[in-house]
Protein backbone atom coordinates (compact mmCIF):
# COMPACT_ATOMS: atom_id res chain seq x y z
CA UNK A 1 0.00 0.00 0.00
CA UNK A 2 2.80 2.42 0.96
CA UNK A 3 4.88 1.63 -2.12
CA UNK A 4 1.83 1.98 -4.30
CA UNK A 5 1.00 5.31 -2.74
CA UNK A 6 4.56 6.56 -3.27
CA UNK A 7 4.28 5.64 -6.94
CA UNK A 8 0.87 7.28 -7.22
CA UNK A 9 2.22 10.44 -5.59
CA UNK A 10 5.00 10.50 -8.15
CA UNK A 11 2.41 10.22 -10.93
CA UNK A 12 0.46 13.11 -9.41
CA UNK A 13 3.63 15.19 -9.28
CA UNK A 14 4.39 14.40 -12.92
CA UNK A 15 0.76 15.07 -13.88
CA UNK A 16 1.06 18.47 -12.22
CA UNK A 17 3.91 19.15 -14.62
CA UNK A 18 1.72 18.23 -17.59
CA UNK A 19 2.99 14.67 -18.05
CA UNK A 20 0.15 12.91 -19.87
CA UNK A 21 1.77 9.51 -19.68
CA UNK A 22 1.89 9.69 -15.87
CA UNK A 23 -1.70 10.88 -15.87
CA UNK A 24 -2.73 7.92 -17.99
CA UNK A 25 -1.09 5.50 -15.55
CA UNK A 26 -2.89 7.16 -12.67
CA UNK A 27 -6.10 7.08 -14.67
CA UNK A 28 -5.81 3.37 -15.42
CA UNK A 29 -4.97 2.59 -11.79
CA UNK A 30 -8.08 4.27 -10.41
CA UNK A 31 -10.69 4.33 -13.16
CA UNK A 32 -12.44 1.10 -12.18
CA UNK A 33 -12.45 1.85 -8.45
CA UNK A 34 -13.76 5.37 -8.94
CA UNK A 35 -16.40 4.18 -11.40
CA UNK A 36 -17.53 1.42 -9.00
CA UNK A 37 -17.76 3.84 -6.10
CA UNK A 38 -19.78 6.32 -8.16
CA UNK A 39 -21.98 3.63 -9.63
CA UNK A 40 -22.88 2.25 -6.23
CA UNK A 41 -23.69 5.73 -4.97
CA UNK A 42 -25.71 6.76 -8.02
CA UNK A 43 -27.05 3.47 -9.44
CA UNK A 44 -26.68 4.77 -12.98
CA UNK A 45 -23.98 3.58 -15.35
CA UNK A 46 -23.96 6.58 -17.68
CA UNK A 47 -23.87 9.11 -14.86
CA UNK A 48 -21.12 7.14 -13.13
CA UNK A 49 -19.09 7.05 -16.35
CA UNK A 50 -19.58 10.77 -16.92
CA UNK A 51 -18.61 11.58 -13.35
CA UNK A 52 -15.59 9.27 -13.48
CA UNK A 53 -14.38 11.39 -16.33
CA UNK A 54 -15.18 14.59 -14.42
CA UNK A 55 -13.25 13.29 -11.41
CA UNK A 56 -10.22 12.62 -13.59
CA UNK A 57 -10.43 16.07 -15.19
CA UNK A 58 -10.49 17.52 -11.68
CA UNK A 59 -7.45 15.41 -10.79
CA UNK A 60 -5.64 16.82 -13.81
CA UNK A 61 -6.58 20.39 -12.90
CA UNK A 62 -5.88 20.04 -9.18
CA UNK A 63 -2.70 17.94 -9.32
CA UNK A 64 -0.50 21.03 -8.78
CA UNK A 65 -2.36 21.70 -5.52
CA UNK A 66 -2.04 18.15 -4.13
CA UNK A 67 0.25 18.50 -1.13
CA UNK A 68 0.86 14.81 -0.53
CA UNK A 69 -0.37 14.91 3.06
CA UNK A 70 -2.90 12.16 2.44
CA UNK A 71 -2.87 9.03 0.33
CA UNK A 72 -3.62 9.66 -3.34
CA UNK A 73 -6.60 7.32 -3.08
CA UNK A 74 -8.01 9.35 -0.17
CA UNK A 75 -7.71 12.54 -2.21
CA UNK A 76 -9.25 11.05 -5.33
CA UNK A 77 -12.16 9.44 -3.50
CA UNK A 78 -12.77 12.81 -1.85
CA UNK A 79 -13.15 14.35 -5.29
CA UNK A 80 -15.39 11.47 -6.41
CA UNK A 81 -17.60 11.77 -3.39
CA UNK A 82 -17.95 15.53 -3.93
CA UNK A 83 -18.95 14.97 -7.56
CA UNK A 84 -21.42 12.26 -6.56
CA UNK A 85 -23.09 14.45 -3.98
CA UNK A 86 -23.33 17.32 -6.46
CA UNK A 87 -24.98 14.98 -8.95
CA UNK A 88 -27.37 13.67 -6.32
CA UNK A 89 -28.32 17.20 -5.35
CA UNK A 90 -28.82 18.04 -9.00
CA UNK A 91 -31.17 15.16 -9.50
CA UNK A 92 -33.02 15.63 -6.22
CA UNK A 93 -31.33 12.66 -4.54
CA UNK A 94 -31.93 9.30 -6.07
CA UNK A 95 -31.47 7.36 -2.86
CA UNK A 96 -34.05 4.64 -2.91
CA UNK A 97 -36.75 4.87 -0.29
CA UNK A 98 -36.86 2.12 2.28
CA UNK A 99 -40.37 1.07 1.34
CA UNK A 100 -39.35 0.52 -2.26
CA UNK A 101 -36.70 -2.05 -1.62
CA UNK A 102 -37.19 -3.80 1.65
CA UNK A 103 -39.83 -6.26 0.49
CA UNK A 104 -38.28 -9.72 0.80
CA UNK A 105 -38.60 -12.05 -2.13
CA UNK A 106 -40.18 -14.68 0.08
CA UNK A 107 -41.25 -13.35 3.47
CA UNK A 108 -41.70 -16.86 4.94
CA UNK A 109 -38.40 -18.23 3.77
CA UNK A 110 -36.37 -17.23 6.80
CA UNK A 111 -39.10 -16.38 9.28
CA UNK A 112 -38.41 -19.24 11.62
CA UNK A 113 -34.64 -19.14 11.40
CA UNK A 114 -32.25 -17.28 13.62
CA UNK A 115 -32.31 -13.58 12.92
CA UNK A 116 -29.16 -12.23 11.35
CA UNK A 117 -26.93 -15.21 10.81
CA UNK A 118 -29.13 -16.37 7.97
CA UNK A 119 -29.13 -13.02 6.24
CA UNK A 120 -28.31 -13.64 2.67
CA UNK A 121 -25.96 -11.44 0.80
CA UNK A 122 -28.88 -10.35 -1.35
CA UNK A 123 -30.83 -9.22 1.65
CA UNK A 124 -27.90 -7.25 2.98
CA UNK A 125 -27.38 -5.71 -0.44
CA UNK A 126 -31.02 -4.66 -0.55
CA UNK A 127 -30.68 -3.25 2.95
CA UNK A 128 -27.55 -1.36 1.90
CA UNK A 129 -29.56 0.37 -0.78
CA UNK A 130 -31.86 1.81 1.87
CA UNK A 131 -29.02 3.76 3.45
CA UNK A 132 -28.63 7.47 2.90
CA UNK A 133 -25.74 8.45 0.61
CA UNK A 134 -23.68 9.55 3.64
CA UNK A 135 -24.19 6.28 5.51
CA UNK A 136 -23.71 4.24 2.38
CA UNK A 137 -20.43 6.00 1.67
CA UNK A 138 -19.09 5.18 5.13
CA UNK A 139 -19.98 1.50 4.76
CA UNK A 140 -18.55 1.34 1.26
CA UNK A 141 -15.32 3.13 2.11
CA UNK A 142 -14.81 0.95 5.18
CA UNK A 143 -15.67 -2.51 3.95
CA UNK A 144 -14.82 -2.36 0.26
CA UNK A 145 -12.18 0.33 -0.11
CA UNK A 146 -10.74 -0.52 3.33
CA UNK A 147 -10.03 3.02 4.46
CA UNK A 148 -9.49 3.87 8.11
CA UNK A 149 -11.71 6.30 10.05
CA UNK A 150 -9.25 9.22 9.63
CA UNK A 151 -9.01 8.57 5.89
CA UNK A 152 -12.78 8.41 5.53
CA UNK A 153 -13.05 11.67 7.47
CA UNK A 154 -10.65 13.24 4.97
CA UNK A 155 -12.61 11.91 2.01
CA UNK A 156 -15.95 13.03 3.40
CA UNK A 157 -14.49 16.28 4.73
CA UNK A 158 -15.97 15.82 8.17
CA UNK A 159 -14.67 15.13 11.69
CA UNK A 160 -13.68 11.59 12.61
CA UNK A 161 -16.44 11.50 15.21
CA UNK A 162 -18.98 12.17 12.46
CA UNK A 163 -17.67 9.15 10.58
CA UNK A 164 -18.03 7.04 13.73
CA UNK A 165 -21.55 8.33 14.29
CA UNK A 166 -22.52 7.58 10.70
CA UNK A 167 -21.05 4.11 10.99
CA UNK A 168 -23.03 3.53 14.17
CA UNK A 169 -26.30 4.64 12.58
CA UNK A 170 -25.62 2.76 9.35
CA UNK A 171 -25.08 -0.49 11.29
CA UNK A 172 -28.19 0.12 13.32
CA UNK A 173 -30.21 0.86 10.22
CA UNK A 174 -29.00 -2.29 8.50
CA UNK A 175 -29.92 -4.39 11.52
CA UNK A 176 -33.35 -2.77 11.70
CA UNK A 177 -34.07 -3.31 8.02
CA UNK A 178 -32.89 -6.93 8.11
CA UNK A 179 -34.86 -7.63 11.25
CA UNK A 180 -37.98 -6.23 9.62
CA UNK A 181 -37.38 -8.29 6.53
CA UNK A 182 -37.05 -11.48 8.48
CA UNK A 183 -39.91 -10.87 10.87
CA UNK A 184 -42.74 -13.43 10.53
Amino acid sequence: MGADDDLHKLWIQQTAGGDRSAFEQLFRAYEKRIFGFLFRMLSNIETAEELTSDVMVEVWKSAPRFRGESRVSTWMFGIARFKALSALRRHESEAVALEDVSEPSDPHETADMGLLRQSTSDQIQRALRTLSPDHRAVIELTFYEEFSYPEIAAILRCPINTVKTRMFHARKRLRDVLSREMAP
Binding site: E31, K32, R40, S53, R90, L116, S121, L128, Y149, L174
Partner: protein, 216 residues
Protein backbone atom coordinates in the same frame (compact mmCIF):
# COMPACT_ATOMS: atom_id res chain seq x y z
CA UNK B 1 -22.23 -9.25 27.96
CA UNK B 2 -19.35 -7.56 29.65
CA UNK B 3 -20.00 -4.12 31.05
CA UNK B 4 -16.47 -2.80 31.12
CA UNK B 5 -15.59 0.37 29.31
CA UNK B 6 -13.90 -1.50 26.48
CA UNK B 7 -17.23 -2.83 25.22
CA UNK B 8 -18.31 0.42 23.56
CA UNK B 9 -14.75 1.04 22.40
CA UNK B 10 -14.60 -2.40 20.83
CA UNK B 11 -17.93 -1.85 19.09
CA UNK B 12 -16.42 1.30 17.61
CA UNK B 13 -13.18 -0.37 16.58
CA UNK B 14 -14.78 -3.49 15.08
CA UNK B 15 -15.12 -2.07 11.52
CA UNK B 16 -11.39 -1.34 11.53
CA UNK B 17 -10.77 -4.82 12.94
CA UNK B 18 -12.72 -6.28 10.01
CA UNK B 19 -11.09 -4.19 7.29
CA UNK B 20 -7.58 -4.50 8.68
CA UNK B 21 -6.97 -0.83 9.50
CA UNK B 22 -7.10 -1.25 13.31
CA UNK B 23 -3.77 -0.76 15.06
CA UNK B 24 -1.98 -3.65 16.76
CA UNK B 25 -3.08 -2.37 20.17
CA UNK B 26 -6.68 -2.15 19.01
CA UNK B 27 -6.55 -5.64 17.55
CA UNK B 28 -5.20 -6.98 20.79
CA UNK B 29 -7.91 -5.23 22.77
CA UNK B 30 -10.65 -6.53 20.46
CA UNK B 31 -9.33 -10.07 20.48
CA UNK B 32 -9.23 -10.32 24.25
CA UNK B 33 -12.66 -8.69 24.57
CA UNK B 34 -14.24 -11.03 22.04
CA UNK B 35 -13.30 -14.01 24.20
CA UNK B 36 -15.74 -12.83 26.87
CA UNK B 37 -18.42 -10.86 24.99
CA UNK B 38 -21.06 -12.68 22.95
CA UNK B 39 -22.62 -9.39 21.75
CA UNK B 40 -19.38 -8.26 20.19
CA UNK B 41 -18.83 -11.68 18.62
CA UNK B 42 -22.28 -11.40 17.08
CA UNK B 43 -21.54 -7.87 15.88
CA UNK B 44 -18.25 -9.02 14.39
CA UNK B 45 -20.07 -11.75 12.49
CA UNK B 46 -22.63 -9.20 11.29
CA UNK B 47 -19.92 -6.82 10.05
CA UNK B 48 -18.17 -9.67 8.26
CA UNK B 49 -21.44 -10.43 6.50
CA UNK B 50 -21.77 -6.78 5.52
CA UNK B 51 -18.25 -6.86 4.18
CA UNK B 52 -18.97 -9.96 2.12
CA UNK B 53 -22.17 -8.44 0.75
CA UNK B 54 -20.44 -5.17 -0.13
CA UNK B 55 -17.58 -7.02 -1.80
CA UNK B 56 -19.95 -9.29 -3.68
CA UNK B 57 -21.99 -6.34 -4.86
CA UNK B 58 -18.86 -4.49 -5.89
CA UNK B 59 -17.60 -7.44 -7.89
CA UNK B 60 -20.90 -7.35 -9.77
CA UNK B 61 -20.28 -3.77 -10.86
CA UNK B 62 -21.38 -3.61 -14.49
CA UNK B 63 -18.86 -3.27 -17.28
CA UNK B 64 -18.20 0.30 -18.23
CA UNK B 65 -16.68 2.14 -21.14
CA UNK B 66 -13.24 3.49 -20.36
CA UNK B 67 -13.44 7.24 -20.05
CA UNK B 68 -9.82 7.89 -20.90
CA UNK B 69 -10.38 9.25 -24.42
CA UNK B 70 -13.37 11.44 -23.52
CA UNK B 71 -11.46 12.68 -20.50
CA UNK B 72 -8.44 13.64 -22.58
CA UNK B 73 -10.79 15.43 -25.01
CA UNK B 74 -12.16 17.45 -22.09
CA UNK B 75 -8.67 18.22 -20.87
CA UNK B 76 -7.61 19.29 -24.37
CA UNK B 77 -10.64 21.55 -24.54
CA UNK B 78 -9.89 23.07 -21.16
CA UNK B 79 -6.24 23.55 -21.95
CA UNK B 80 -6.91 25.24 -25.26
CA UNK B 81 -9.66 27.40 -23.77
CA UNK B 82 -7.44 28.56 -20.96
CA UNK B 83 -5.29 31.44 -22.17
CA UNK B 84 -1.69 31.23 -21.02
CA UNK B 85 -1.15 34.53 -19.26
CA UNK B 86 1.51 36.87 -20.50
CA UNK B 87 2.92 36.94 -16.99
CA UNK B 88 3.27 33.16 -16.98
CA UNK B 89 4.98 33.20 -20.36
CA UNK B 90 7.43 35.88 -19.24
CA UNK B 91 8.05 33.94 -16.03
CA UNK B 92 8.76 30.78 -18.04
CA UNK B 93 11.19 32.60 -20.30
CA UNK B 94 12.91 34.32 -17.38
CA UNK B 95 13.07 31.08 -15.45
CA UNK B 96 14.82 29.40 -18.35
CA UNK B 97 17.47 32.14 -18.58
CA UNK B 98 17.88 33.45 -15.05
CA UNK B 99 16.95 31.37 -12.01
CA UNK B 100 14.69 33.02 -9.39
CA UNK B 101 16.52 35.36 -7.05
CA UNK B 102 19.18 36.62 -9.45
CA UNK B 103 19.50 40.45 -9.54
CA UNK B 104 19.00 40.68 -13.32
CA UNK B 105 15.79 38.76 -13.06
CA UNK B 106 14.54 40.95 -10.21
CA UNK B 107 15.17 44.12 -12.23
CA UNK B 108 13.40 42.65 -15.27
CA UNK B 109 10.43 41.58 -13.17
CA UNK B 110 10.07 45.09 -11.73
CA UNK B 111 10.32 46.62 -15.21
CA UNK B 112 7.76 44.17 -16.53
CA UNK B 113 5.38 44.93 -13.67
CA UNK B 114 5.62 48.64 -14.51
CA UNK B 115 4.83 47.91 -18.17
CA UNK B 116 1.83 45.79 -17.19
CA UNK B 117 0.59 48.55 -14.89
CA UNK B 118 0.84 51.17 -17.65
CA UNK B 119 -0.81 48.84 -20.15
CA UNK B 120 -3.62 48.22 -17.67
CA UNK B 121 -4.25 51.94 -17.34
CA UNK B 122 -4.42 52.28 -21.13
CA UNK B 123 -6.80 49.35 -21.48
CA UNK B 124 -9.08 50.60 -18.72
CA UNK B 125 -9.46 53.89 -20.53
CA UNK B 126 -10.65 52.18 -23.71
CA UNK B 127 -14.40 52.00 -24.48
CA UNK B 128 -16.15 48.75 -23.47
CA UNK B 129 -15.25 45.82 -25.69
CA UNK B 130 -17.94 44.14 -27.66
CA UNK B 131 -18.23 40.85 -29.55
CA UNK B 132 -20.03 40.01 -32.71
CA UNK B 133 -21.69 36.72 -31.92
CA UNK B 134 -23.08 33.88 -33.95
CA UNK B 135 -26.30 33.64 -32.01
CA UNK B 136 -27.08 37.30 -31.64
CA UNK B 137 -26.18 40.72 -32.82
CA UNK B 138 -23.66 43.08 -31.34
CA UNK B 139 -23.49 41.96 -27.72
CA UNK B 140 -21.41 43.60 -25.01
CA UNK B 141 -19.18 41.29 -23.00
CA UNK B 142 -21.34 40.47 -20.01
CA UNK B 143 -20.76 38.99 -16.58
CA UNK B 144 -22.86 35.87 -17.07
CA UNK B 145 -21.54 32.37 -16.49
CA UNK B 146 -19.49 30.93 -19.33
CA UNK B 147 -19.22 27.46 -20.73
CA UNK B 148 -16.56 25.87 -22.88
CA UNK B 149 -18.28 23.86 -25.57
CA UNK B 150 -17.16 21.58 -28.38
CA UNK B 151 -19.68 20.58 -31.02
CA UNK B 152 -19.92 17.27 -32.83
CA UNK B 153 -18.13 17.24 -36.18
CA UNK B 154 -21.44 16.52 -37.94
CA UNK B 155 -23.43 19.26 -36.18
CA UNK B 156 -24.91 21.82 -38.56
CA UNK B 157 -25.06 25.53 -38.03
CA UNK B 158 -28.82 25.23 -37.60
CA UNK B 159 -28.65 22.50 -34.90
CA UNK B 160 -25.95 24.44 -33.08
CA UNK B 161 -28.04 27.59 -33.21
CA UNK B 162 -31.07 25.70 -31.88
CA UNK B 163 -29.05 24.15 -29.05
CA UNK B 164 -27.74 27.55 -28.02
CA UNK B 165 -31.17 29.14 -28.27
CA UNK B 166 -32.56 26.48 -25.90
CA UNK B 167 -30.22 27.70 -23.17
CA UNK B 168 -30.21 31.36 -24.26
CA UNK B 169 -26.49 31.00 -24.79
CA UNK B 170 -24.37 33.44 -26.72
CA UNK B 171 -21.11 32.64 -28.46
CA UNK B 172 -18.53 35.08 -27.15
CA UNK B 173 -15.46 33.52 -28.70
CA UNK B 174 -14.35 30.60 -30.78
CA UNK B 175 -13.78 28.37 -32.40
CA UNK B 176 -10.27 27.98 -31.04
CA UNK B 177 -7.71 25.90 -32.89
CA UNK B 178 -9.12 22.85 -31.07
CA UNK B 179 -12.70 23.77 -32.02
CA UNK B 180 -13.67 25.11 -28.60
CA UNK B 181 -16.32 27.82 -28.26
CA UNK B 182 -16.90 30.03 -25.27
CA UNK B 183 -20.60 30.38 -24.57
CA UNK B 184 -22.08 32.93 -22.21
CA UNK B 185 -25.35 32.28 -20.40
CA UNK B 186 -27.73 34.93 -19.11
CA UNK B 187 -28.09 35.41 -15.37
CA UNK B 188 -25.65 35.60 -12.47
CA UNK B 189 -22.45 33.55 -12.40
CA UNK B 190 -23.29 32.05 -9.02
CA UNK B 191 -26.64 30.54 -9.96
CA UNK B 192 -25.34 26.97 -9.86
CA UNK B 193 -28.72 25.37 -10.52
CA UNK B 194 -29.37 27.42 -13.64
CA UNK B 195 -25.86 26.68 -14.89
CA UNK B 196 -26.27 22.96 -14.20
CA UNK B 197 -29.62 22.97 -16.02
CA UNK B 198 -28.04 24.62 -19.05
CA UNK B 199 -25.13 22.14 -18.98
CA UNK B 200 -27.53 19.21 -18.69
CA UNK B 201 -29.64 20.59 -21.56
CA UNK B 202 -26.58 20.88 -23.78
CA UNK B 203 -25.20 17.48 -22.76
CA UNK B 204 -28.54 15.88 -23.58
CA UNK B 205 -28.08 16.91 -27.21
CA UNK B 206 -25.44 14.31 -27.82
CA UNK B 207 -25.70 14.52 -31.61
CA UNK B 208 -24.88 18.24 -31.50
CA UNK B 209 -22.71 18.78 -28.42
CA UNK B 210 -19.55 16.77 -27.90
CA UNK B 211 -18.34 18.39 -24.70
CA UNK B 212 -19.53 21.10 -22.34
CA UNK B 213 -18.05 22.27 -19.07
CA UNK B 214 -18.31 25.44 -17.04
CA UNK B 215 -15.34 27.67 -17.70
CA UNK B 216 -13.08 27.47 -14.65
Amino acid sequence: MTTDISHSTVQEVLPGFVNGTASDAEREMVTSHLATCADCRDELSFLQQIRSAVTEEASATPPFRSQFSPTMAKIDALESARPVSVIQRVRDVLGAVWPPGTPVRTVLVVQFAAIVLLAGIVVLRQPEASFTTLSGGETPAGAGPRLTVMFQPGATEETIRRALRDVNGTVVSGPSAAGVYLIELPGPSDDARAIDRAIDALRSQTNVVRFVEQQP
